[in-house]
């Protein structure tokens, strides 16, 4: 009732450091940068990428190499993360798995959240036949057992690159978000600022991009961060069943899966190293997501100038 708003307290910050004219992109970036955790997440993710793609240079072992002399060795100067029963170098395996998992996780999340956002907003904003078709499609995919479909489909992609997994996983993970997005868009569509934009002559897709997506960005960002983790897990599950990434290729999921049974044994390193890498990836993505959400949301105090 009498909650003090920023207008009352007049936190006059003439943005001396920043130029007076700044568009939304610049403003969001500035607000994002103020968030320490977000920056940690961003830097962390960049480092993880560098680690995944430059890591192989640190060791002479390749993920397929077998060191018959040093099976079941703990972390040493030669095998940074140790070796498994067969003599695979865990460092090389983890790094190689990371490459695929990072790409799968991020791409699947991008694709599924992106299409959920696109289809959900389009269905709600345009209405009519668009809506009928999209809602029908969403419901159809919801009732189809996705895992079964993936298993049925996978033989067709036998020879294809592992990247086929990206659209396959994404195909079955957009529906629920899309429904939520549609519901939210339905309410936002009726707001006056959308109407105002329409009467200015702003084209429909621009309205969706400029007004609707930013206003539902919180859910999309949360969904994206969740999807990164979910995609990595789904991929490892598929791999476990033998449909995803197959030997000699490895992914973080397969490496963790193989190591899981050793988690509480003296060969803990088989599980702990790849698992911590997964945790780090998801943590970084979450930090970035939180930061982005705060930066886009004018009501959050975390990102405003102090």
């Amino acid at each position: 009732m009498t909650a003090p708003t920023a207008a009352d307290t007049e936190s006059v910050q003439p943005f001396a450091a920043a130029p007076a004219r700044s568009g939304r992109a610049a403003l969001v970036w500035r607000r994002f940068r103020r968030n320490k955790f977000a920056m940690v997440g961003l830097v962390g993710l960049v480092l993880l990428f560098l680690f995944a793609f430059l890591g192989p240079l640190l060791t002479h072992w390749s993920p397929t190499d077998i060191d018959l002399v040093n099976t079941q060795s703990g972390p040493t100067g030669d095998h940074f993360f140790g070796t498994d029963d067969v003599g695979h170098d865990m460092f090389a395996q983890t790094v190689s798995g990371m490459q695929k998992s990072l790409i799968i996780g991020l791409l699947v999340a991008l694709l599924s959240t992106g299409s959920a956002g696109l289809l959900g907003t389009a269905a709600a904003y345009f209405g009519g036949w668009w809506e009928k078709v999209i809602v029908w499609l969403t419901d159809l995919f919801l009732v189809v057992p996705s895992l079964l479909m993936l298993i049925i489909l996978s033989p067709y992609f036998q020879g294809a690159s592992w990247l086929v997994l990206v659209p396959m996983i994404a195909l079955f993970s957009w529906m629920i978000t899309s429904r939520v997005v549609r519901g939210m868009t339905l309410t936002i569509r009726e707001r006056e600022f959308v109407r105002a934009a329409r009467y200015m002559g702003v084209p429909a897709w621009t309205i969706i991009r400029r007004h609707i997506i930013p206003n539902i960005s919180s859910i999309l960002i949360v969904d994206f961060t969740l999807n990164v983790g979910a995609a990595i897990v789904t991929e490892s599950f598929l791999s476990f069943l033998g449909f995803g990434i197959r030997t000699p290729n490895v992914s973080l999921g397969t490496v963790i899966n193989d190591g899981a049974q050793f988690a509480s044994t003296d060969q803990w390193y088989l599980f702990v190293f790849p698992a911590s890498v997964l945790v780090l990836i998801i943590l970084c993505v979450n930090f970035i997501g939180d930061g982005l959400r705060d930066a886009l949301d004018p009501n959050s105090t975390g990102a405003s100038a102090r």
Binding site: M1, T2, A3, P4, T5, A6, A7, D8, T9, E10, P14, F15, A18, A20, R21, S22, G23, R24, L27, R191, E192, F193, R195, A196, A197, Y199, M200, G201, V202, P203, T206, R210, H211, P214, N215, S217, L296, D297, P298, N299, T301
Partner: protein, 711 residues
């Protein structure tokens, strides 16, 4: 015993209870503080007043002035993080510090409350009757039958027709006005000693507001209760209250009898409030009286310095005002208390009351000199019609009726002119606007902008035309994207119409200055602005492309009075400076009188009266216009007391079910006074809008139109 009170007329009650004797409700030095992240919010800072039996005390203030919080404190309904100090005594009994259980015995029985929003104050899943019965049985031992009988009686008292049937209805089956009547019925159910009314009519249309005030008055006469009326509307209080307390920044800044406050204000804030209300009854030389806005915004209630909280907005501020907060003291021996360091100067007349605020000039344009007939029309609407089909059925939809939202209206706006379109909610104002803004062929009739028909426009031409016709919406918060910096929002129309980024930014800075903001505000989000500033941003956005016509959809109705005046003056100034034409939609006729050159009154999808402002307001000819004008309270206690109101019965009929013949006849007071032959004419013939005899620009759609002075 309480039943008797209601059944017998309270004739024995003294008509004007002397304000002596023991007060019924006595509030002393009430302070309410909320803890918040930003620090302690001191919402109420020392409120004291006495309320005597049968008395009406009006508490007036803008949003955030602490008026509702102080009322909630009386009922003990504040959240737990509120710290309350002071004393609240009901008939000598201290209420502060009573537990919830004890307070529950008092709430609804001794002190009743009427809330602002009657929809959320009633439980949607119980029938209205059950809710009144509950209100009764909570505090009284009554048998089911007795409670029911009494509930019916109460519904009858507050003027709900056919209470037997309505008893079983759910809240959603009632209109807003009817729901508020139910609230009043519940409030008086246990013969309370005090009725707290928190903005009881703010959410309602004027004609309904008049009905509700009447119902409240009746209820008060029956129960003899004292009323504490909280409102922002100085008009409502003028005719209703005996005493007024004006609150600002959590404190009463002026308290006294209603006439004292209105005719001898001793605090610049009160003077400013009175000067900033648009009034129906005052017209200046040019047909308009300039409003005197109060600059600035109310202070934050966190960390208030020891200074007059109004100092930053006060035109007669001196050094002492910034050094100490003034006490609430009488300005002279026979004066009422006010909290102003300069009260003595105001009392002695050293500073004349009417010169406290600089009176702004009414801006004039070169167009004002050109007679209306010689100006070219910018917007012509002919026979505009918008019907919505009413569908029923889950699988197979069939048409069961038609909602005649807009049913054939004509008007035109000429260059540099403002047309006010007024009517109550549901009369089709907004549909009319939206139809115009779509810029496509309407269902029937035609819309022409600068002489070119909207129906014949190609896609590109329509896009071009959007430059010339822009809109400002009612709610400045809803019409700005909360996630978009305001600079970007203002630039949006520019970017859409192909301006380069650099040019757009320059224009944004220019526009922000034009509407009285600073260019560096561009990178802030809408929530960092107050309501008035947000509306200025919306105006800036509408003006970005240099439109010729701006459609204003209730642009000031969501703003506080003191802010409202500033926006009205800004709109007036811009119109003169930029040669704009306005279509100004409003439900508030007083605002329209201030800003419009011509006015069109809408009722149920039709224009019933149209003409230049002075003709329509001084000699309204349609019974609906007359009722509408008469329902608006004047911020002038003496005039208010002498006025007799035309009360319209019932609510606006549904546009799905338009009465035959004249659509107003069901509620028309004139119809009732006609003879049978004349009545049948109203029943059978739909009146067309015809010019009033001897008038060039004044027409009304009534078979028996007759001028009547009502203001």
């Amino acid at each position: 015993m309480s039943q008797n009170l209601l059944l017998t007329d309270a004739a024995g009650r003294p008509k004007n209870p002397a304000p002596t004797g023991t007060p019924l409700l006595s509030v002393r030095d009430l302070h309410v503080t909320f803890s918040s992240e930003a620090g302690d919010v001191r919402a109420v800072r020392g409120v004291s007043y006495d309320l005597h039996p049968g008395e009406v005390l009006g508490i007036v203030g803008e949003s955030g002035s602490g008026k509702s919080v102080s009322a909630m404190a009386i009922l003990g309904l504040l959240p737990d993080n509120a710290r309350i100090t002071g004393s609240i005594k009901l008939e000598g009994r201290e209420l502060l510090g009573l537990g919830d259980k004890r307070m529950s015995k008092i709430r609804g029985k001794d002190i009743a409350m009427v809330f602002q929003d009657p929809l959320s104050a009633l439980t949607p899943v119980f029938t209205v009757g059950d809710q009144i019965v509950e209100a009764l049985t909570v505090h009284q031992k009554l048998s089911r039958d007795a409670a029911r009988k009494r509930a019916l009686e109460l519904l009858d008292v507050v003027g709900i027709p056919d209470p037997e049937r309505r008893f079983k209805n759910f809240p959603h089956e009632f209109s807003g006005g009817m729901r508020q009547r139910v609230m009043i019925a519940m409030a008086i159910a246990n013969d309370p000693k005090v009725i707290l009314c928190d903005e009881p009519t703010t959410a309602l249309d004027v004609t309904i507001q008049a009905q509700i005030l009447e119902a409240l008055k009746n209820a008060q006469e029956l129960t003899g209760a004292a009323i504490l009326m909280i409102t922002h509307d100085l008009g409502v209080v003028a005719g209703f209250a005996d005493k007024v307390s004006v609150m600002y920044a959590g404190r009463p800044v002026e308290q006294g009898a209603v006439d004292e406050i209105y005719y001898r204000p001793r605090m610049p804030y009160t003077i400013g409030l009175l000067g900033s209300i648009p009034r129906l009854d005052v017209s200046g030389e040019h047909g308009r009286r300039p409003l005197t806005p109060i600059e600035g915004n109310p202070p934050s209630m966190v960390d208030l310095p020891d200074a007059c909280p109004f100092a930053d907005r006060c035109p007669i501020v001196t050094d002492i005002c910034r050094d100490a907060e003034p006490e609430l003291l009488p300005a002279g021996p026979d004066s009422h208390p006010s909290a102003c360091h300069r009260r003595a100067d105001l009392e002695s007349g050293t500073i004349p009351i009417d010169q406290v605020y600089p009176v702004p000039e009414i801006p004039e344009t070169h167009l004002d000199a050109v007679p209306r007939e010689q100006r070219s029309p910018v917007l012509e609407v002919k026979g505009l019609q918008k019907h919505f089909p009413l569908m029923r059925g889950a699988v197979f939809k069939r048409r069961v009726g038609t909602v005649k939202a807009v049913d054939g209206i004509d008007f035109e706006i000429r260059e540099g002119e403002t047309l006010g379109l007024v009517g109550e909610s549901g009369c089709g104002k907004t549909t009319t606007l939206l139809e115009i803004l779509e810029l496509v062929a309407p269902q029937a009739g035609s819309i022409a902008v600068f002489g070119s028909q909207a129906a014949n426009l190609s896609g590109r031409e329509r896009m071009e035309m959007r430059k010339d016709i822009q809109i400002v919406f009612q709610d400045p918060m809803a019409s700005l994207d909360p996630r978009m910096p305001v600079g970007e929002a203002i630039a949006e129309p520019l970017r859409t119409h192909g301006w380069s980024q650099d040019k757009a930014y320059e224009r944004v800075a220019e526009l922000l200055e034009l509407v009285g903001l600073e260019p560096y505000h561009a990178s802030r989000f809408p929530r960092e602005f107050s309501g008035g500033q947000r509306q200025r941003i919306c105006v800036a956005r509408a003006l970005a492309l240099n439109p010729k016509v701006v459609i204003l959809d209730e642009p000031v109705s969501a703003l506080d009075v003191s802010i409202q005046a500033g926006v009205i003056n800004l709109l007036d100034e811009l119109r003169a400076k930029l040669g704009l034409s306005y279509l100004f939609v409003a439900h508030d006729l007083s605002v329209v009188r201030h800003i419009a050159d011509r006015v069109a009154v809408m009722y149920l999808g039709r224009i019933v009266e149209i003409g230049d402002v002075s003709s329509v307001f001084e000699l309204p000819s349609h019974p609906y216009t007359q009722a509408l004008l008469s329902a608006i309270p004047l911020p002038d206690p003496r005039k208010e007391r002498e006025r007799s109101r035309i009360l319209l019965p019932g609510d606006l009929p549904s546009p799905a079910n338009v009465p035959s013949g004249c659509r107003f006849r069901d509620r028309c007071f004139k119809y009732a006074s006609l003879n049978a032959a004349e009545q049948s004419k109203c029943r059978d013939e739909d009146p067309v809008i015809v010019a009033r005899p001897g008038k060039q620009d004044h027409a009304a759609a009534c078979h028996f139109a007759d001028a009547l002075e009502v203001v």
